[in-house]
């Protein structure tokens, strides 16, 4: 059996599958299906300095091969996470990534400082939530913004720092390079693509926020392309995500340059998706005589 372990920014994951932030809560709901140690890691629901109620409903709309969401970072706040969720999560045998979003650089820094004092394994800087006006995406769509926020948080963060990139940018490689130059230990990408759907009968957007973030199989090729472009530019590891629902998708994203994979929307139709994906990846590695899953990273032979 091939070795499925991967190391990202010094953190060793038992396998390369990580639950994507916002799709998996703090893990409790999916424990009904399998032990959380099935996953290499869990990126927790995005947390903010203070509790947030989130956006009014409807927050969800289906799209061709995907879905839009505009949940709006509903969460109980960083202190609640540290006290109530993190200690329990740390007993589950999986790596725990705290995903943080803020209104201001100071809020990001304060959260990074608080979390650096805990036993969380990694911090994921969410500068790409498209669904709240002040949810970090204002920092995430320009190189100067990404550099500034990454550098500031870096000073307050003693944990491995992963910056989650928005795909709603002109040149993803430039953005990835800006994060790397400013102190990011890793990059995760891609967050959702901003989208919109309209009910033609009521002539109203289906989502109350008007626009939402597109996820699901529809965005897989965008993720593959962006991971490939970023991987050609930066040396830090990339955690790839965007529409992975089958093991073939995970292999594809790793070939494009990802060192690990986050899955999200796939949980909704198939809670067992990570088990099936891991199984498929392991068989693929054996059939192709790879000793370790890490050998897949960046193995695409581009034309």
């Amino acid at each position: 059996m091939a070795d499925l372990r991967v190391t990202i920014a010094g953190v060793e994951f038992d396998n390369p599958l990580i639950a994507a932030s916002g799709t998996f809560g703090f893990g409790r709901e999916y424990m009904e299906f399998y032990p959380l140690s099935t996953l290499g890691g869990i990126s927790c629901k995005g947390i903010t300095l203070k509790e947030r109620a989130g956006n009014p409903p409807p927050r969800i709309a289906e799209t061709p091969s995907g879905m839009l969401n505009a949940v709006g970072l509903q969460n109980p706040g960083v202190d609640h996470f540290i006290q109530e969720d993190l200690p329990w999560l740390k007993t589950q045998g999986t790596k725990v990534i705290a995903n943080i979003a803020g209104n201001t650089p100071e809020e990001y820094c304060e959260m990074a400082e608080k979390l650096s004092g805990t036993d969380v394994d990694m911090i994921e800087l969410n500068i790409s939530c498209p669904n709240v006006k002040q949810g970090g995406v204002q920092f995430g769509t320009t190189c100067a913004g990404v550099s500034d926020i990454t550098a500031q948080v870096r000073k307050h963060c003693t944990k491995p720092l992963m910056v989650k990139l928005s795909p709603n940018v002109a040149d993803i490689a430039e953005i990835a390079a800006a994060a790397e130059a400013s102190g990011a230990d890793a990059i995760s990408m891609i967050n959702t693509l901003t989208g919109m759907r309209i009910d033609i009968h009521t002539r109203r957007p289906i989502i109350r926020n008007n626009t939402g973030g597109l996820s699901g199989p529809a965005i897989l090729p965008v993720a593959v392309r962006m991971v490939w472009q970023a991987a050609n530019r930066v040396k830090i590891p990339i955690v790839g995500m965007g529409g992975v629902s089958r093991w073939e998708d995970a292999v594809e994203l790793m070939l494009a340059g990802a060192s690990a994979i986050q899955i999200g929307t796939a949980f909704f139709s198939n809670p067992y998706a990570p088990i099936e994906i891991l199984d498929g990846v392991a068989k693929y590695l054996e059939q192709n005589q790879f000793a370790s899953v890490t050998e897949l990273t960046g193995k695409v032979q581009a034309w």
Binding site: E29, P56, I206, F268
Partner: protein
């Protein structure tokens, strides 16, 4: 496990009204675990999201669950095309369900349109103690009336066009009833009126809500609904609860309509 994914063979299919289909499935142990008012998130082949469909009826001995769904869009259109002998992929049982309590009390069930099905099983438990007020667009859209009558319930019908029963709103029956408890499911304006009636009369009332949903288990926070939450100082604040995990059944006094 509280809930699970299970392939359930379709035993019966029936078109109850135009575009409204009833399915009875072999659910095995799920049928023993399910409570009235809970729902299943049903896989739609080729679609990204499952569709939440309430449990209409259950038979623990025969190990069956019954679902009634209306074609509302592409997803329900695909589900409506399922036939006996095929399997439905259910994520169930989900949500909290109705707190039925003492079934010798006088219960009022209020249902509107496709909100009627989840009331059938709990109304059966109350039998002749149940008054069931059902509202439909028209006679053509009326469903499940025989099922409620066979259970011994006192059934009152209202239609928007007067083609069956009272010409008007189901809430116009409320002057005639003095229930101990109310259970309701249907459009939000109807639920609001039912809740106001319950509040005025001081009758406990449970309402079953609907919202666009993704995970169905409380992880994604998609299916938000505005509710009151007690605060530390003994007051109430507004927050978003979630239909899938905190509901779909709520104490009507907690819902902000």
């Amino acid at each position: 496990m509280k809930y699970e994914v299970k392939q359930c063979r379709i035993l019966q299919k029936q078109e109850l009204a135009k575009g409204i289909f009833s399915f009875v499935v072999d659910a095995g142990a799920l049928a023993q675990k399910a409570k009235p008012g809970q729902f299943a998130n049903i896989l739609v082949p080729g679609k990204t999201l499952r569709r939440p469909i309430s449990i209409c009826d259950m038979d623990a001995q025969k190990q069956t669950l019954r679902f009634v769904l209306e074609i509302r869009g592409e997803g329900t259109q695909i589900l409506a095309g399922f036939e006996p002998g095929q399997d439905m992929d259910l994520l169930a049982p989900l949500g909290n369900g109705f707190d039925v309590g003492d079934c010798n009390r006088k219960a009022l069930f209020v249902g509107g349109g496709i909100g009627v099905p989840p009331l059938l099983h709990p109304a059966k438990l109350f039998g002749q103690h149940a008054t069931v007020a059902l509202g439909f667009r028209s006679q053509e859209a009326a469903i499940l009336i025989d099922d409620f009558q066979q259970a011994g319930c006192n059934v009152l019908i209202a239609t928007d066009d007067g083609s069956l029963g009272h010409h008007g709103l189901v809430t116009e029956y409320f002057g005639q009833v003095q229930p101990d408890v109310i259970f309701a499911c249907g459009p939000m304006p109807m639920l609001k009126a039912v809740s106001e009636f319950a509040e005025q009369k001081g009758i406990p009332c449970q309402v079953s809500l609907e919202e666009r949903m993704a995970c169905g288990i409380g992880a994604c926070l998609g299916c938000a609904c505005k509710v009151y939450r007690p605060t530390e100082d003994g007051g109430m604040s507004e927050t978003y609860g979630h239909v899938c995990k905190d509901g779909p059944v709520f104490d009507s006094r907690k819902v902000i309509f």
